[in-house]
Each structure stands twice: as C-alpha cells, then as structure tokens.
Amino acid sequence: MNNLLKGALLGCTIAASASVYADTVINGAGATFPYPVYAKWAEQYNKETGVKLNYQAIGSGGGIKQIIAKTVDFGASDAPLSKDKLDKEGLVQFPAVMGSIVAVVNLPGVKAGELKLSGELLADIYLGKVKSWDDKAIAELNSGVKLPHTPIYTVHRSDGSGTTYNFTDYLARVSSDWKSKVGVDKEVAWPQEAHQLGGKGNAGVANFVKRTKGSIGYVEYAYAKTNDLAYTQMKNKDGKYVLPTMEAFQAAAANADWANAPGFKLILNDQPGAASWPMTAATFILMHKSQANEATAKEVLKFFEWSYANGDALASELEYVPMPDNVVKMVETMWHSDIKTAGGKAVY
C-alpha cells in the first residue's frame, strides 16, 4: 500500500509543481489499476523533459467514453476492446504495462504460498459447489496442509472493475460451468450458492479477507503483498503449480501470442509455459487513428516510448510487470503504421 500511496501522492505533487514548466501537457483518463505506475512514470518523465502528464483515474469505462468523445489525448482501459469496436470508433490500442491477480485466503495456520489451488477448483468455490475448507476437492491437492472444517466465504469486488473482468475471464476459460452460469464482465451476478461478500476496490477485498476467517478473495498482487495476505499457488495450463513471482508473471507475458492478436486484444490469462502464472492481465492505452493535433499525439507516443525504455524498474518497484521487448517492438511498429495525421502522414 505504501508504494501505491506514495505513487498517488507523487502524482498529485507533480500536478502541483509542473505548472512552472507550463509548456506541454498531455491529458489521459481511464483505468484506476495502472494509475500509480503512470503517476510514477509521469513524475520521472516530467523531471527529464518538462512534459506534464495529466492522468485522471476515472475507471476503464470512463476512459473509453472520454477517448471516444475526444476530450482526452489518450484513454486507458483494463479490458481491451475488440477489433470491431476499435475500427468502428477509429481507435488503436496497445498494452502499456501488466499486472497480475492472485487468490488470497485467510486460514489460520496456512501461510502464504502454502495452499495449492487449480482454476477449476477456484471456479467451484466461487460457484458455491465447494463450501467447506476440508472439502475433498481441496484436500486432494493439499495433502500436507491442515484444513479446518469451516465454511468458505468468497470475497469479490462490489464495484465494477477490470480486475473482476480478468478474474472472471480466467474462471470462464478453465470452467465451462462458470462460463455458462456466470460469464465474464467487470461486474457479474455472483452465485448465491456461495457465502459471498463484496468489497469496494482492491483495498476493500483485501480488508475483508484479512478480517474474515475462512475467506478467499482475489486482488492485484501488490495488494496481497502490502497487506501480508496469504496468496495461493495456482496450477497453470501446463499442469504445474507456480507461486506468484515476478518471473512467473513475466513468463506468462513472454509466452503469450501477441503477434496473432488483432488490435492487441489479448488477455493474458491461462497462457502456456511451465513457469507461467495463470492470472495475468495487461492494461491498455487507446488513441485515435487520425490525429488532428500532430504535436500532442507525438508527445503521447514519446511518453510511452520513454516508459517502455526507462520505466521497467519503476514499474517493478510497484509490483507491475513491464511489457517484454518483443511486444514493445510490435507496438512501436503499429504506432508508425496506424497513427496518422489528418493528412495521412505518420505521426511517429
């Protein structure tokens, strides 16, 4: 939390101090999840170039609306738009940075990384089919772990969120039951069969899990770490159990097939690879293909080019996963070919 808070605070400080430069300002709005890292990047970038980034964390839905209405220079969304939707609105999208989701539990005596879960089991727990911690399905995977006979309380996000979108997307990929009964969205009808509890924001979920014995929740990795929550191991697509580590997140990103994802619409859940963490998600930037103001568009792209090249350490510090170099190359090629001025000249 401390780091996130610091990022947010620094973001505010830049907003206040940058007026001395008073030259170039780029405006962005959207997803709240990447806000701390954008703020951190913007701070450093401002120091080096004097360019100021004004980013409003109003939520992914808001980001999409604002960029379509052309009130901002770029929009940001956790859930990628489909190629059709992009084409319809004359937009392009590219991944900026990645985060990962972990399952966290509150079981007395069970430490972080001790409990093993599979995607199917996680889905069954949230569906209310597995109701007790000593259920056979959980015990089978965890022979050495002492599981109490207590009911399972499932904690979810009560506000619409990209985290929920990516989490339900993962469950739908590994469980046909989840796919048909609940589905995928930023906000879903959580099955009533489970003892469900909704927390506002990552912080709300973390707080409920921390406090409620026998609960399980899903949060961004940074929140699990800063709240000292007991994350679980997850079984990945290759059938291996992995711990949530930076290496595992990066493995998922590296193994993803970006080259065959039209409009960079790729959700990084359940990617192949023995070391891959199964719940990883990129957050996206949206821009118009045709740019009326060439200079500003150029500044936006310059900012992200700088972030890709110099922002890795800052991102990792805040528990975000930088984009792999091969993806960055593809993104930059796309900028050159797709983002044009009104006259058809490449902006970048």
Binding site: G62, S158, G160, G183, V184, L197
Partner: protein, 311 residues
C-alpha cells in the same frame, strides 16, 4: 426625498421582492420536474425492456443484461428503517435530557457535540464503520447473536448467518448515527415550543417530572416527532458513501440482517463508472428514478399525514 417618492420606491421594492421570491420558488419546481424528466428519459430503455418487472425482479446480471431493482430497493428500505428504529429512542432521550433534565452548563457543549455529528463527512462514517465498527461488531455482537438469538422463533432468522461484520444491520446502525443529529435537534426544537404554563400547570396538580414528560410533553409534540422521523428517513434513504462501505455489496435478498446486501445509492456509486453497455447504464438511472420516487412518496405522505393531524 419626499415621502411620496419614498413610498413609491418601497412599493416597487415590494413588488420586485415578491417577483424574485416567486421566481425562486418556481425555479425549484422546474428543477424538480427537469430532474424527474431526465431520469425518466435515461431510464426509459430499461423500463421499456423489462416493463413493470424492473421494480420487482431481483435479477441483476450485467453479463446477460438482466436488471431488476428489487435487491437494491430492499436493502435501501430495510437499512433505513433499521436506522430510524434505532435512532428514534436515542434521539428522543437525548432531546428530552437536553431540554428538560440537563443542567445549563452541560446543555450547550452537549448540543454542540450532537450537532458536530452532522458535520462529519459521510465517508468518514463509512471508513470508521468498515475498519473500526464492523470488526468489533462481528466479534462483540454477531458471534453472540448467532449463538443465542438465531434459534429463537420469528426473529431467529434475522440474526443467523456468518458473522462477517458488514451487512444490512451494520449499515442500519451506521445510518442511525448519521440521522441522530437531525432527529435530536428537531425534537429538541419541538419541545421548546411547548408552552411553559402547560408544564407548570401539570406540576401544579402534583405530577412528577416523569409524568409531565410522558403525559404532557410527548403527546404535545407527536406531530413534530413524526415529521422529524420522516426527515431523518429521507436522509437515510439517500445516503451513499457510508452505506457503500459497510453494506457488503452483494446483489441479494436474504432473511438475515447479518448478510451483505446492497442499496440503490451504493449500486449506482459502485457500478456507474464501469458500467458496460447502454442497458446497464439505463438500469442504473432507473434505480435513481426508483430512489427519487420513494423519497417523493415518503415526504409526500408525511405532508398528508401531518396536515390531517393538524386539522
């Protein structure tokens, strides 16, 4: 300046003042109507699609685009009623103490303290509720209640369920804190309007202080107490931020007051930003329309009842 011109000026001033007041009053009606109209327009796609069922369906599923207001409506009404139910006896007690029993040196600081409760921003109540009250409530009351009360007939189901700390009852209690200042100050105000001679006359025929309060003062301010209750209820119905924190954010209706639920304002606050698709947004505006209507009906019926009493 002659007397006549002064007269003419002040007549003009009166007329101007009258018109200005009339315009202001008219503006309020126009605003109210405009709000209602824009809510209706915004909610129309949802109302047209789900019909009257929108108000009674407990289905809230953004994936299948099925929306109904029942969950949120239930949570709003139940949490507000709990709040009024809990705040009334306390508010009455405080008001009677302040106006009848309290020594003068204590009355002012106490009144100020109560009024300061109203100055606390609602998000502070929400955060306090979530981080301080809910954990304490879970271990201090809910565990005990689940053991001792949940087996009772009739009221048992209300107090069963997992002790999670947040939920309908918790939001009702937090709301009770929030409406306490308005209840107390209104009742106190009403008590101060009871003529002094009335009290003195009752003491004169040998009544005790208790009898004066119960048999004279309370009956004399029955109407205003009811009015204060309705105003407090109106405040509770619309409260957003505090409720969003402590109600538990679950789209469900459960017989237990311990279970997480949702309210109209909480649903709107949590989902509006990330609403996907026009139907979702329209349904959220529809919820706003429902809240507008309940508040309108509550306030309206209070007026009617009060007028009948006054006759």
């Amino acid at each position: 300046m002659t007397a006549i011109s002064l007269r003419a000026f002040s007549w003009q001033g009166d007329d101007l003042f009258r018109r200005a007041c009339l315009t202001s009053a008219g503006l309020i009606s126009v605003l109210m109507f405009a709000i209602l109209l824009s809510l209706c327009i915004g909610a129309w796609p949802a109302l047209e699609n789900f019909g009257i069922g929108f108000f009674f369906s407990s289905e809230w599923n953004p994936v299948t685009k099925e929306f109904g207001a029942a969950n949120a409506l239930y949570g709003t009404l139940v949490s507000s009623i709990i709040a009024v139910f809990l705040a009334l006896p306390v508010g009455l007690g405080v008001a009677i103490f302040l106006s009848e029993l309290c020594p003068v040196w204590l009355s002012r600081p106490l009144s100020i303290a109560i009024e300061l409760l109203a100055a606390v921003p609602s998000i502070i109540y929400g955060m306090w509720g979530l981080f301080v009250f809910a954990p304490w409530f879970s271990e201090g009351f809910q565990v005990w209640a689940a053991e001792h009360l949940s087996e009772l007939p009739l009221i048992g189901p209300l107090f069963s369920g997992p002790p999670m700390g947040v939920g309908l009852l918790t939001s009702g209690i937090i709301l009770a804190f929030m409406i306490l200042p308005i209840l107390t100050s209104l009742i106190k105000e009403a008590l101060s309007t009871v003529p002094k001679v009335l009290r003195e006359a009752t003491y004169g025929i040998g009544a005790t202080q208790f009898e004066v309060i119960i048999k004279v003062l309370l009956p004399a301010i029955k109407g205003p107490i009811f009015g204060a209750l309705i105003l407090a209820l109106g405040r509770a119905l619309g409260e957003t931020m505090a409720i969003t924190f402590v109600i538990g954010g679950a789209q469900s209706i459960d017989s237990s007051l311990f279970m997480p639920a949702t309210s109209i304002s909480a649903t709107i606050a949590e989902q509006f930003n990330e609403a996907t698709g026009d139907m979702h947004i329209s349904a959220l505006i529809g919820l706003g329309l429902v809240l507008f209507m309940i508040t309108f009906i509550v306030m309206g019926s209070a007026r009617v009842l009060l007028r009948r009493k006054a006759k």
